[in-house]
Amino acid sequence: MSTQRVHLSIESKLDHVSLIGVLVRALATQLGYGNMDSFQIELAVVEAVNNSIEHSYLGEPNKKVDVSLAIGEGNFVLTIADDGIPMPSKVLAESDESASSDDFPEGGRGLDIIRQVMDSVTYERGSRNSLHLIKRLPSH
């Protein structure tokens, strides 16, 4: 079976993000992931899309966030792409421990979650910004 691919996209408004979440979680379940993994995959993609909207586009609507899904070679690969301000290079590398002097910050947890639930997380700056998330497919 060759790699199967589908592309999702939404306008950069937080209102639309839940649709991406619902779709990705349902696909994960269909791919054989358990409830827990499917939830965590939804969580990771929602965090990434929220970041594109809030940080790359600074909340500006009418921009486009793309989520490409590829299933093949034992991996579920999710790529979240935008055309906004790239993530600063050190942000992805550092753990959230150092992120805030506040004991209980209200934000700053998204990337840490993504790193924890995914098997691989890479980021590409270029003509577009692309965050690549990889999760091993469940074994049959």
Binding site: V17, S18, F39, V46, I113
Partner: protein, 118 residues
């Protein structure tokens, strides 16, 4: 933001009647629950049994409610689905929010005799 509120002794039990608490709803949630805190309710149980999804922004709203309450009272959580509970674990917020399977346990945890233990 749909909620259903009950009073049990000194405790306000707020049941969230939503399936998702994400970035799009976090502000609304904070405002809605914040109203109770501003009205002087400082023992709050949040019943999250209906939630099938929450993200870090939803969690941030919970943190902000907890901060509003501050030293005046406490907030406990009831009924989270196992999936949603992992969000607390992944962010180590399971150390900050006490979470109980049922509303009555969450209420119990806020009653005076318990403050001795807590």
């Amino acid at each position: 933001m749909k909620t259903e509120t009950n009073r049990v002794g000194q405790t306000t039990v707020i049941k969230l009647l939503e399936r998702r608490l994400g970035a799009d709803k976090a502000g609304e949630f904070k405002a809605e629950i914040g109203k109770y805190v501003e009205a002087g309710e400082t023992k709050i149980v949040l019943d999250l049994a209906e939630l099938s999804f929450m993200d870090s922004s939803g969690l941030g709203a919970l943190v902000s409610v907890l901060k509003m309450i501050g030293k005046r009272g406490d907030l406990t959580i009831a009924g989270t689905q196992a999936t949603v509970q992992t969000l607390f674990r992944l962010t180590r917020m399971d150390k900050v929010f006490r979470s109980f399977p049922t509303v009555s346990e969450a209420v119990q945890a806020l009653t005076p005799q318990d403050t001795l233990k807590g």
